[in-house]
Each structure stands twice: as C-alpha cells, then as structure tokens.
C-alpha cells in the first residue's frame, strides 16, 4: 500500500469558497455587466441585457469594462457592483 498526495488545490478551496446569495427575482432588479476587456465583451453583454429586459423586466443596468483581460476586476469596481446589483453577469466576448 502506498499513499499518493493530491496535487490540486481542491481541499484548500473547498474550505474557503462560498457562493454569493442568488437573486430571487429579476423584475426591476439592478443588473451588473462586467466585460473582461476583450473587444466584443461589451457587445455580447448588451445583447444579454436586452434579452433580460424583454423577458424578465430587469431594471437598471450597470456596466463595467475591464481594460485588461489578464488582471482581476479592481476592488473599487467589485465593491460598487456588489453594493448596487442584485446579480452580475460577466463575459469574455473574444
């Protein structure tokens, strides 16, 4: 019998990560759009926002576009989205 060690971060992550509360209703809700910095991300998200308005009657739409796809969203933008939005959608659109 031999023991092999786990090369992944599976156990480290399972103890720290948790999901944000889910939005229960979309009607009238403020929705955040976070484009990751690729050239078509904003276009893709705008189409999704159109569909959400038509089908679910979402309210205000808040847009954030990262300037660099390789770095995280700024703390300032993340906090703003968390405060203002019931849900945030992110997209690559490459």
């Amino acid at each position: 019998m031999i023991r092999i060690l786990d090369p992944t971060l599976r156990t480290a992550l399972s103890s720290t990560a948790s999901r944000a509360p889910r939005a229960r209703h979309l009607a009238g809700a403020t929705i955040g759009l976070l484009a990751n910095g690729k050239s078509n991300g904003i276009m893709l998200l705008d189409r999704i926002a159109d569909v959400l308005r038509e089908r679910h009657g979402v309210g205000e739409v808040v847009r954030v576009a990262k300037t660099n796809a390789s770095v995280p969203v700024s703390d300032e933008d993340a906090e703003m989205l968390a405060k203002r939005c019931a849900a945030v959608i992110t997209a690559i659109g490459d």
């Binding site: 019998m1 031999i2 060690l5 090369p7 390789s70």
Partner: protein, 373 residues
Amino acid sequence: MRTERDGIDVDDPWEAIEVCYERGWTDGLPVVPPTEALVEHTLAAGPWTPDHVLLFEPVRSRAVTAEKAAINAVMAGCRPEYFPVVGAALTALGDPAFELHGPATSTGGAALMVIVNGPARLHLGVNGTANLFGPGFRANATIGRALRLVLLNCLDCRPGVLDKSTQGWPGKYSLCFAENEEASPWEPLSVARGFRADQSTVTVYAAESGHNVLSHGTRSPERLLALFADAMAGLGSLSPGRSVIVVAPEHAKHLRHAGWDRARTQAWLYEHAWRSLADLKRAGKVEPAFFTNPKLLEWIYRDADGGTPSGPLDPDLAERVTAADEVVRVHRGLGPEDILLCVGGGEAGGHSAFFPSWSRGRSVPFVTREVPS
C-alpha cells in the same frame, strides 16, 4: 482504494499512475506517483516551508504553496535538486507584471519558456547545447513539465475548459533550457538582466512556437541578422510584443568576430524587423478596435510623421490603404529592449530560433528571478 483528504491509498505504483490519469492530474504522459517520501525529499531540497506561497494568481485567487509545487514536481519527474529552479520559476510566473492568467488561459496557447543561467545549469545538467529544445535531458524535460502540471492541477488550466488554446503547441509540455554561456560572445543573459555571473537565475517568457532561422551561407552580421529580422517581421506573428532570439553558436561566432555587442545587435534587429502599415492593412492585421486603443495606435504610427493617421479616423481606416501607409514602418515590438538575445545550441549548424511572444498586443514582460542555492 481508500480516499482521504490529503491523498489516495493505492496498492502499487501502476495503480497510482492510472489513478492520476483517472483524476485528470496528468498532461497526457504518465506521472511519477507523488508519494509522501518523494515529496518530502523534494521539499527538503528547497529553502521554503511547505505552506510558503510560491505563486499567487489573483484573477482566480489561487495560492500555490511549496508543498503543492513539490507534489507536481515529483509527478513531472524532477529530481529533488531541481526544486529550487521550479520554485524560482513559479515565483517569476507569479510576478504581478507577468499577468499569468492571460498566457495560461488564452486562445493564443502560449508555452511558459524558462531560460536557466549560472552554475545551476551545469550541476543540474540543464542542457543548453545540442538539441536544447528537444528530447534527451531530464532537467529540461521535467522542470518545464512541473510548471505545466502546476497550471493544470493548481490553476485548473485544463484544455478546452480554462485553457482555451486554439491549438497550443508541444512547448506547452515543457520549454526549459540553459543558455550556452560558454559559446556566447556576450555577458550571460542573467548578467544583462542585473544579476552576477555566479548567481543562478531563471528567466520566464510567454512563448509562441519557435521559428528556425537557417543560414550557412554568410558571416556578415548584417546579412545574417537580416534573416532574423525577416522572421520577426512575418505578418503572421507581427505584434507590438516581445521576441526571444536563441542564437546558435555558429551564428554567435560570426557576431563575435565582427565585434557586435548585444545592444548593437538588438538595435539592428529592431530597426530592421518591420512591415509597412499598408502591408498590415492588406493582410487584415489592423483591427478597427486598434483606432480606439492608444497603445496600439502608438505602435502603428510611432514612425509616422506626427505619430498619427494622416487622414480622418473613420470606421474604414482599418482596411483602407492610403499612399501614406506605404511608407509608415510598423516594427515588431516597441524598442530594442523588447528583443531578448541569448545563445543556445550545439557547435555545429547554422540553426537559430525566434520565438514570438504570446498575444496580438504587448504580451507580458520577461521576468528573471534568482534560483536559491
């Protein structure tokens, strides 16, 4: 088979190898089973405590500890004494300026190039001579592989999932080699990058696949370097990004005899690796988005009179070729410092290599770190 939090118990090494496949822990090749004893030996060969974070990837908030790095290094086939090189390379990849998330996940399919300098090359047997990019050398094959396994297993860069490489290339298995300092006409790459010759270093780079630069017919530096510049100016990979040139010893000898130093060679290559803006437009290499991106606009027009387009910024400008575009030179990179020169390969043969950087933008910088002794 019994599973616990920190590992899996198996009956024998063959089962261990198959379990690693079943769990998705390999790059497609069999791995060395990472037993506790092997991981302990590997950790003991480096200066880091098991919980020391060697690499933090901020986009997905992943911290790679020395212990996880050691497990992956064992799986890659590293001898314990390679671990300081693996750890130094992970530290370099974790430099915030390297922005690892991009080259690790992009459709561009970059390999993580590791160039080793200094005494570690010799005592670890990192090959910088004949067939330095090819098979046959444990350090070359396994140090780069350890980095790839860390990306797969710790950063979840799985093909088609988070690693969205359109094609990738074989350098993604491992791309680690030494500089052939003994055949270089210049100071070692590490010294050019601010270290002492008696320090061992790793320099990392996000590399697209290499291009052979073949010349047996000239000793003239200008004629020889014109071939490099031509490869660098190929429209397929032309970008404002970086270049790595690995000069073969035979080519390096011609530069040595002619007295060309590193700075002069870099400057000459930058000056001659260009295409006209008209060529770029005819090839569809200019995208409409370039005209709203100050960095890309600067790249395209930096050699133009006034540094801006001669006509109005209309939506067709990306494709419309003007007379002025025929004389606007668009260079590879933004300056000579974007060209990294090192020497590598066997004594015989006129085969050098050019590696373009990942990305159609600036890519990420070269990062050099000392290997702890």
